[in-house]
Symmetry: C2
Subunit: 327 residues, 2 copies
């Protein structure tokens, strides 16, 4: 049994996960990023200690801890280089955690970790070349290539949300124009709805307080014309993005995660149609586009898989070296 | 020593390549695709037989043959599934070649093979995560990820030329609009020049017969305003494409191949500037954008590497299995 931690901007989730990817126990606490990195590390430590005790109660040893972090990390240094939601820059997270646990710790970007989870136990089971795209406030991505997580040269691969689809499109938080994220995220859909309301379009959305993407999907299902147009527009741009990814990666599976993944046919029908129109024949012939299955558990399960992957690949050197940090 | 073949729409190139990637001997003949696949296979066989004799003269055994094909191939079946320039559909190339040689044969897409060559002996030496993008009549791509060629689920990965950068852009040969290829290939540059001439712009390009991209680069160097604008526009769109690839792959190296790679600073300066502006900070920090080095030899050298890679990875099963086809 290993411990998988999903460190988010709002909550820290932790789980004790067995070798089959089943969750044996789950804990959650607030992140309270404002209290600073050492305090957050302390809260993570608390979850680790509790989960380890639960494993010991079951007479099982925990060989390591995997952590999905909302940003970029340096596995060799054991640091979180940059995590915008936490306001972290070069935080020595592994050092902080080694004060309370002697276990090897594996850091990885949260989108990558979610992809690993979905490929191991979720929608991507059996997939060899899988692209996961998480559509929420922003758009993140994780890549499984040749059966293994691909995280790039300094761990920042998979930023599919920041690929320009339309150089004259809306301004993105990253400073560029027309990134996929500005055209099709939950945030983008809410923005389009607000614009339609401001234009005075006749729509049920005007009556929704604190409008969210799921309200737009519900109104579209109910036949609201404006909502339907927004969904179709988002599906169109996301379909273009997926078509690009299909042509680049020739994957066997694309997994759509995030809140949007629960939208059902109202999104997935136009999405699949556009993506397949946009893709070349050869890669289109072998790809399926499916919603994620693990929901909020993907992070913890994928984080646990980081540890099993190191053990499975007999990465003894790595485990040993990481173990040494504790001395 | 192994044999590397670069099968093109116009010419077949073959080389005897040693374990260091040096070309010992080189042969070339016309493809004559109109004569049909069996005739082309016969011409490839001729080159193979001659190169094998040269190896034997040097008292060296050839363990296998690598072939870069201009399209999609199925390594397990030994067939070329689709090669538009040759008008081939489901051609059993390995079966044809096994009539004259008993050696194991490895098929791979030509853009992938060129990338492998550049990573082995060219601009990408030492690269672990490399994207090669070949800008010529069209735009092709090859991916080296975690130090190995990544060719996708059915061998059609890396079609970076067919990623949409501008959904309202010009029509592409693939049927979509605003593919990278329509915005920045050599063909696209010539089209832009023709449009400028048709608009009556004052430009030296009007005096060039059979205008090619290299003429546009030369005129831009000489200060021609129209030519300079075309180069900057092509560099801008290619830069957006590279920025997207940097954010997706977090590569250590991007190699630009094709005729355009010889353009020098007039292209590479604005190209690097746009790509770095478009890329996120983390992946931008570790990537270099450099021209290819091997020119027309990349195909043969990379094709040879397919064989060495199989030998090096002790892919005995694969070599053995392929050897069995001859019996």
């Amino acid at each position: 049994m290993v411990i998988g931690i999903d460190l988010g901007g709002t909550n820290i989730k932790g789980a004790l996960v067995d070798g089959e990817g089943a969750i044996i126990a789950k804990l959650e606490t607030a992140t309270r990023a404002n209290a600073g990195p050492e305090a957050v590390a302390g809260r993570i430590s608390g979850i680790i200690t509790d989960l380890e005790a639960m494993a010991n109660d079951r007479e099982r040893r925990v060989p390591g801890i995997g952590i999905g972090v909302p940003g970029q990390s340096d596995q060799a240094q054991g640091t979180v280089i940059f995590a915008p939601n936490l306001h972290w820059h070069n935080v020595p997270l592994v050092k902080y955690l080694h004060r309370i646990t002697r276990l090897p710790i594996f850091l990885e970007n949260d989108a990558n970790v979610a992809a690993l989870g979905e490929q191991w136990r979720g929608a991507g089971r059996g997939s060899v070349n899988m692209v996961m795209i998480t559509v929420g406030t922003g758009i993140g991505g994780g890549l499984i290539l040749n059966g293994r997580l691909y995280s790039g040269t300094n761990g920042s691969a998979g930023e599919v949300g920041h690929t320009v689809i339309d150089p004259d499109g809306p301004q993105c938080s990253c400073g560029r124009r027309g990134c996929l994220e500005t055209l099709t995220s939950a945030t983008a859909m809410v923005r389009m709805a607000q614009e339609a309301i401001d234009r005075g379009e006749e729509t049920d959305l005007v009556r929704v307080e604190n409008l969210e993407a799921k309200d737009i999907f519900m109104s579209a299902e109910a036949g609201d014309k404006t909502a339907r147009e927004i969904v179709n527009k988002a599906a169109y741009f996301l379909g273009i993005g997926l078509g690009n990814l299909i042509n680049i990666f020739n994957p066997d599976t694309i997994v759509i995660g995030g809140g949007v993944s629960k939208a059902g046919d109202i999104l997935f029908k136009p999405l699949r149609r556009t993506a397949m129109e946009q893709a070349l024949d050869a890669p289109a012939a072998v790809v399926r586009i499916i919603p994620a299955e693990l929901g909020n558990d993907a992070g913890c399960i994928g984080a646990a898989k980081l540890v099993f992957q190191a053990v499975e690949s007999q990465d003894h050197y790595s485990l040993h070296r990481k173990g040494e940090i504790r001395d």
